[in-house]
């Protein structure tokens, strides 16, 4: 139930933008589509809204096939990146716009707009024009306009990207609170993986119009399905090192880091013939100083207080990021020997697929 996409594709002429995406969002979930720009996430959202037609596949909302239903009849509301507030209407008129189109009685419009304004703390702004509001207030009006419609599904198209950093964090919390309060299904598009991680019940990672992986935020973080997801989710990003399978040791896979003249052990069950090229993925927080690891010379330190990030250069010239906690003495210019627990070493095949 909720929102279900089955083998959905979209092309603009000869250019394919979304390729055979199937996904399922349970009713009441906060789903986030995330991916780099041009990955098709906004197009997918607009297809759910009905603003783009679907080249192939079906879209259903609460069990009803809406693939060919016009936007207004899909019972979805959308919050645009630009907010799309009408400059010639007041906040009240903007929020009640959809109701006034349907010739809803004035008193009912008033009740519903005031209710939405109460939820969003906009009561004292109802008579103002959008141009008299701050960015965050405009954002809330745009959300209010969606709430007033009482849709089955809320769609958000990069709604926070026009706000400054501080306000973005604040609005993120408000959105999470709103979702708890209303409990409706929400689909949220962003290129910011931090927004995705903090807001989502379920993240859908997209790249080049294809669904890469779907799952709970921490599932994706701990268990990325491929190299792209591993590198995209998490900040600072995962470090990738080239390696070669060297056979088994105590039931663990031994991987040679040739360019670094070192090796790592990884908890991988897949049998790999000796010499197979692989990519090793190491999260910054999983790297720690060990005896006989690979050497890295620290070139820069970012101290954030509780956490520090070391930017270090490896023997082959590659840069990696290492997270340390509670460290107080500087390591700048020093060479450290690094390693990781076999359980934390992620291994990807040459084609980017995860080896488990």
């Amino acid at each position: 139930m909720g929102v279900t996409l089955t083998n959905v594709s979209k092309s603009f002429g000869p250019v394919g933008v979304v390729h055979d995406v199937s996904l399922d969002i349970p009713t009441g979930d906060f789903a986030v589509f995330v991916g780099p720009s041009g990955c098709g996430k906004s197009t997918l959202l607009r297809m759910i809204a009905g603003l783009e037609d679907t080249t192939a596949g079906t879209i259903s909302i609460e069990g009803r096939d809406v693939t060919d239903v016009e936007p207004a009849k899909r019972e979805v509301a959308m919050v645009f990146q630009s907010y799309a507030l009408y400059p010639h209407l007041t906040v009240f008129e903007n929020m009640g716009f959809s109701l006034s189109l349907k010739k809803t009685p004035k008193s009912r419009i008033k009740d519903m707009v005031h209710e939405a304004a109460r939820i969003l703390h906009l009561e004292e702004h109802l008579d103002k024009r959008p141009s008299q509001l701050s960015g965050g207030q405009r954002q809330r009006v745009a959300i209010g306009r969606a709430i007033v419609r009482q849709p089955k599904v809320f769609l958000f198209d990069e709604p926070l990207s026009n706000l400054d950093a501080e306000l973005r964090v604040q609005m993120r919390l408000e959105l999470a609170r709103l979702h708890k309060q209303i409990g409706a299904t929400m689909i949220y598009v962003t290129h910011d993986q931090v927004e995705a991680m903090t807001l989502a019940d379920r993240i859908f990672v997209l790249k080049n119009g294809k669904l890469q992986q779907a799952g709970k935020p921490l599932e994706l973080y701990d268990n990325p399905g491929n190299q792209f997801v591993g590198g995209f989710i998490g900040s600072p990003a995962m470090n990738f090192l080239p390696g070669r399978a060297l056979g088994r040791q105590d039931g663990l896979l031994r991987i040679g880091l040739e360019s670094l003249d070192a090796h790592l052990l990884a908890k991988v069950a897949t049998e790999l013939s000796e010499g197979t090229s692989v990519k090793v993925g190491l999260r910054p927080e999983h790297l720690r100083p060990v005896e006989g690891g690979f050497n890295a010379s620290v070139e820069m330190e970012e101290d954030l207080g509780g956490v520090s990030y070391l930017h270090a250069r490896l023997a082959d010239g590659r840069m990696i990021v290492v997270e340390t906690r509670g460290r107080r003495e500087s390591l700048d210019g020093r060479t450290v020997s690094l390693g990781a627990d076999p359980g934390d070493v992620l291994v990807f095949a040459e084609d980017g697929g995860r080896l488990r």
Partner: protein, 294 residues
Amino acid sequence: MAMLTNRRKEVAVAASLVAPFVLIFALVFLYPTIRLVQLSFTDSPLIGAGNWIGLDNFKRLLSDRLFLTSLKNNGYFILLTVIPTTALALGIALMVTRLRGKLQALALAIFFLPYILPVPVVTHIWTWMLDFQFGVLQPVITFFTGKPVAVFKNPYWVMPAIAAVTIWWTNGFNVLLFIAGLRNIPRDYYEAAQLDGATRWQLFARVTWPLLWPVTALVLTLQLILQLKLFDQVYLLSSGGPFNSSYVLLLMVYREAFQLNHGGYASAIALVLFVIIAALSVLQFQLLRVGGRR
């Protein structure tokens, strides 16, 4: 101190940049205008001195039948052109914006083409098209009236015909203004309204029309000014006839000044027209702005 010298320097720079324009403006607009006002209180010929006669020229205007006819004709022409051409341009712009790519450029070029033609060419084209004997449009007129009409020689047809020619000639520019206005309306507004269930009419009435109102007010005001200055088309198509039924103020200014050598009287008429244009356009623009703000 430094602030003060800076400020003084800025003023000097600003003044030197504005000076060329101010000088030219004073020479070719301000001075002639002042002279025109002076002339309108004299009985002087076009060139040479005259006597100060106070408000006599203006008193004479009030009893001049041709002046009153011209004033009335100017008003009639405004009714025939300003709102119709604005409405037509808006309609065409709405249709043209629905086209895409090259087709849109082609449509725009076609509608804009008449605007780049010089007036004599325009009037020539229409004289041919409406020619009593050979005009390609006479069958159309015959269809509606039962007989061909010599439109520029008929007192009832002449003003509407000149209005039609004028609209055909100048409409392209208004279409362009409206298209620019339409392109300035973000697509999100339409998509949001579409999601809210707006019908096509509601999209126009609730989104396009209010957001396009500033452009509409501009077009209406520009048209009002332009059409009050009517001269060329009348001069070339009907010379004010028949029976002065297409006589307008500028034609009268031309006649008094250059044919009858009444510089003072012509100046008085021109001054009246100037005041009418200034007053009406300011009034209209203010009214439209208030209307747009609701």
